[in-house]
Subunit: 166 residues, 2 copies
DNA sequence: ACTTAATAGGAGTATATACACGCAATATGG
DNA sequence: CCATATTGCGTGTATATACTCCTATTAAGT
């Protein structure tokens, strides 16, 4: 089947919409409005900014965030943590193993022997302390783009979106 | 060196701040304000929502976005596209290869024989057409959380952040 | 107590992402 | 014209992410 025949078949299947669908205007409106595209792009760029800033500490922003999360919820098991982080359980497991291999956290079985409890090590604490001023610098830079107020509003809305999708 | 000795060393290195730094209050304020954490979490959850919705089409939201981007900028080479997408050049290359392996796009060398031009195939167009109503459904669901207006404002701010970090 | 849920977590596989490095083609300065 | 710089892109490696299936442990129902 030639390309033109396919085009005709598409037209018969989807009607005149198929032309509209491939128009620059339509594609542009999809790209500009798409929640996933806009969030993912910003997320990529912000992640890069933080990772570059954190480089001297040897941590990536994902790892820094995890360590702070462990400090915040030392009693949680992995599933609870994953839920709070809006992250798949298995993703957390794997990110965790990396931190463990680097000696930043320690995992111990809970009383319920199915559970794993996570403890931050002194090495992990040192890393967080080293990273903290670097984090501040990146945070100031990124937040400075919109200004404190707008960022606070966006952060609030991001949390609302997250809590509605969990 | 025991854990306690490490704690003491940390205190002498960083002063009283090290205690403050590990307090729940402080960690909570970091987690609540961190641009990377908040964006990444929302991005993960929104991505999951779109991926689930798009499942019947066989596309992930990343692939759908790329196809729409190719439709929008058929003249761009990979580096230009990557810049527009706020994505590393090599990431785009690899995501592209996947689409090519699945027959959704075709790459041809440009006149400048260093360049690769990307063309969407008829199979790719069919996939986009199939995915479009599914995308709409996910988009409506996600945007509905905040409402059209707030989402439009957030999308605008996300673009501002992105353009300032590129 | 025994059977059956339900729960906590890991392993296999696949995609998404980026950095460091290297190669080929083009552009540029002399 | 040639040497060098620049540009466009691929590969190797590492991390981040999630889905599907699997095992071990505990909870619940009878």
């Amino acid at each position: 089947m030639t390309e033109k025949e396919v085009e005709k078949k598409l037209s018969s299947l989807f009607g005149d919409d198929s032309d509209v669908c491939f128009s620059s205007e339509f594609c542009l409106s999809v790209a500009r409005s798409c929640a996933a595209y806009n969030l993912r792009r910003a997320s990529r760029l912000v992640t890069q900014a933080f990772d570059q800033a954190l480089k001297p500490s040897g941590l990536k922003i994902t790892q820094f965030s995890l360590l702070v999360a462990f400090l915040l919820s030392p009693e949680s098991n992995l599933a609870q943590l994953a839920k709070g982080l809006g992250m798949d359980r298995t993703t957390l497991s794997r990110n965790l193993r990396l931190l463990e291999d680097n000696g930043l956290v320690r995992t111990t079985p809970g009383e319920d022997r199915r559970e794993q409890k996570v403890e931050i090590t002194s090495q992990g604490k040192t890393a967080v302390l080293q990273a903290m001023p670097l984090w501040h610098k990146a945070q100031d830079r990124v937040v400075g783009i919109l200004g404190e107020e707008k960022w606070a509003a966006m952060a609030k809305d991001l949390r609302i979106m997250a809590s509605n999708l969990k």
